[in-house]
């Protein structure tokens, strides 16, 4: 009898109580929206930077290595707060959506209207498919360990194929100046960038060589491995900052 009574779902708030808690929800959501648009966008601009700014930086080796690794950070921290305190499995999707809002605003106003670059040269990458899967894994498993391993890995592995439909067409070859270039490379040559000369690009440079000329899978798995470590690190950062002790001190 007692066990059956426990199966009755709790009644939702009604009246003034419901109205007030809902108002609080919206207040927090709007604040979170602006906070993550600003903070996460700044974080990505400083850490991923040119890899996300320009199509001719999006190579097969460094771009899929750096981008997921730097972009799993805020999603992990926000998931730690929203999942452990509220059972809301939307931390990653919320962060990446906010990031994309900020990125598109910057690309349109700063890069296109202010600095005259065509938008197609500065198309951002998307991590929304990875974020959706990360949220789903956390919700279904309710486990930091499993989400770190499988979610972190999926977050990185899905990155390149998610973006290939956007950027694949920019890899069509062109004969230009006596050399073979991609259309992306041609953007870098034609549309003058005084502060970002070509040699600064890290295009398949370093010791992480290709395997039978396939560079991306190696980078993606390397990134996945690092993401499995980055995810719990930022989870605990998020958890550490999700505290009211600073407010109490005031």
């Amino acid at each position: 009898m007692t066990a059956k009574a426990l199966e009755i779902p709790p009644k939702p708030y009604t009246g003034e109580k419901a109205r007030l808690t809902r108002a609080y929800d919206y207040l927090i959501l709007v604040l979170a929206l602006f906070l993550f648009i600003g903070a996460f966008h700044l974080h990505v601009a400083l850490t991923v930077g040119d890899w996300d700014f320009w199509t001719d930086w999006k190579d097969r080796q460094w771009w899929p290595l750096v981008t997921p690794l730097m972009m799993i950070t805020f999603p992990a921290a926000v998931q730690a707060v929203l999942w452990t305190n509220f059972r809301l499995p939307m931390g990653a999707t919320l962060c990446i959506s906010c990031l994309l809002i900020g990125t598109w605003i910057a690309r349109y106003f700063a890069y296109h209207l202010w600095n005259y670059f065509p938008i197609n040269e500065v198309l951002p990458a998307t991590m929304l498919p990875s974020a959706l899967v990360l949220d789903a894994i956390l919700m279904l498993t309710n486990s930091l360990t499993i989400t770190s391993i499988f979610g972190g890995m999926a977050f990185a592995l899905l990155f390149y194929p998610s973006n290939w439909p956007i950027f694949g067409m920019f890899h069509v070859p062109v004969e230009y100046g006596g050399a073979q270039l991609t259309i992306s490379d041609l953007f870098g040559f034609q549309y003058i960038r005084a502060g970002t000369p070509e040699y600064l690009r890290l295009i398949e440079r370093g010791t992480l060589r290709t395997y039978g000329q396939y560079a991306t899978p190696l980078s993606a798995f390397c990134s996945g491995l690092l993401c499995t470590l980055m995810y719990p690190l930022w989870w605990y950062i998020g958890k550490a900052f999700a505290t009211t002790k600073f407010v109490k001190a005031i």
Partner: protein
């Protein structure tokens, strides 16, 4: 009565307002930013010319010129193993359609050789109307931007008239201004709609306070429904399937896609244009008189040609000091970094064929200060470099790249 703090606050607000709503246009792009010893002793530009200065949208502008890579390259600057001949402009108001180094087409970065002589040609196409100041310049890896001479250009016309079509190796002609844009926006919009739907799925229900209280009271299991789980399962399997499928379709649509290209152009220097061996210049001592803004170079000049020669110009860091009696007339009125009377000699007699003479060359002008070259004496490497132009009586030119330690005089 207003408190002093309010005055300060008011002035601060006015200052902030003026910064925000009345900004001054910036007309420079760091020409003087690098230390003088780098501007003087790395890329030494000369004979830079522009094909025209008034253009319409789609018109071509050709910039040509020469540069000498200084032999006395500063120790503190990495060697020019990775450089990029660029154009300083306020964004891509022009597009660069062609670029040549020593007649060789170059679309990538290039390695330069110390002491090498190069000529260049850059073809630009006007893209946006306006009045712009352009410089050819070199990006030097780990050093910065060494500017060449600048010039003002006026572009007229409608931006919409600009066309930039390119033929791919597949045979398709594409418009670089819009290529891939609709596809990119489409994919972003698709994922954004999916992400927003997932967010709204959760946001539509009471969020923080009720859920927190339920979780704390051990009723967390009611917060995730079986429908939530089904949707999450759909995401877990559906999204990767969609991603892999779309990626495979892209592969089949663009079977000839290649990775980004990142070669390094290897450009052989021209036969010596500077330090051609016919006129040899050896600097013995150089003093810079700070109050007078005057550089005096004492140099031994050996003329092994069969003509007498005269010193006509000393050029360093794009500042040209001309000897009015010798140098060809200066016609570019818009160029502000020329001192038409700036060069004088202790003896105006030409150096005869076969003669070796020690000459005191004085380059005097306020440009040492206004171009921020007098700061050399406070650099970590107080050596100066530049090009000395000497002319035979028949107008033939010899160029010597000189470098020397500089001793300041404060009297």
């Amino acid at each position: 009565m207003m408190k002093p703090m309010n005055y300060v606050l008011g002035i601060f607000c006015l200052w902030l307002f003026s910064l925000t709503f009345a900004p001054n246009a910036a007309f420079a792009h760091g020409e003087k930013a690098l230390e003088p010893f780098i501007r003087m002793r790395t890329i030494q530009w000369y004979d830079v010319q522009w094909s025209l200065d008034k253009l319409n949208i789609n018109d071509e502008l050709v910039i040509t010129g020469k540069f000498h890579v200084a032999e006395d390259w500063p120790r503190g600057v990495p060697k020019p193993d990775a450089t990029y001949l660029n154009v300083s402009s306020p964004g891509p108001v022009f597009v660069r359609t062609e670029r040549y180094l020593n007649g060789q087409a170059s679309v990538s970065s290039a390695a330069l050789k110390l002491g090498g002589d190069y000529d260049f040609k850059i073809v630009l196409k006007a893209r946006l109307p306006g009045r712009y100041h352009l410089h050819p310049f070199f990006n030097l890896h780990d050093a910065g931007a060494v500017m060449g001479p600048g010039h003002w250009f006026e572009v007229a016309g409608e931006p919409a008239a600009f066309a930039n079509q390119v033929k791919t190796l597949d045979g398709n002609v594409i418009d670089m201004e819009t290529y891939g844009l609709a596809n990119g926006i489409g994919w972003h919009a698709f994922w954004f709609v999916l992400g927003t739907a997932w967010l709204l799925w959760w946001v539509r229900r009471p969020l923080f306070i009720p859920r927190y209280k339920m979780l704390q009271s051990g009723q967390g299991k009611w917060l995730i429904t079986s429908l939530d789980r089904k949707i999450a399962m759909g995401i877990l399997f559906g999204v990767p399937l969609l991603v892999v499928g779309a990626s495979a379709m892209t592969d089949s649509e663009y079977p000839n896609a290649i990775p980004l290209q990142a070669g390094m152009d290897q450009i052989e220097p021209l036969p010596s244009l500077v330090n051609d061996g016919i006129v040899k210049v050896k600097v013995q001592r150089t003093e810079f008189r700070v109050p007078a803004r005057s550089m005096t170079i004492t140099a031994q000049i050996q003329n092994t040609s069969d003509q007498s020669i005269s010193i006509g110009e000393f050029a360093t860091a794009n500042v040209r000091f001309l000897n009015p009696g010798v140098s060809p007339s200066h016609t570019d009125d818009s160029d502000t970094v020329v001192a038409p009377q700036g060069l004088s000699l202790d003896s105006t007699d030409p150096i005869q064929a076969g003669e070796t003479r020690t000459v005191r060359i004085t380059a005097l002008d306020a440009l040492w200060a206004t171009q921020r070259l007098d700061g050399l004496i406070r650099d970590a490497d107080t050596r100066m470099g530049g090009l000395l132009f000497l002319y035979e009586t028949n107008g033939k030119r010899h160029i010597a790249s000189i470098s020397t330690a500089v001793i300041p005089k404060f009297d």
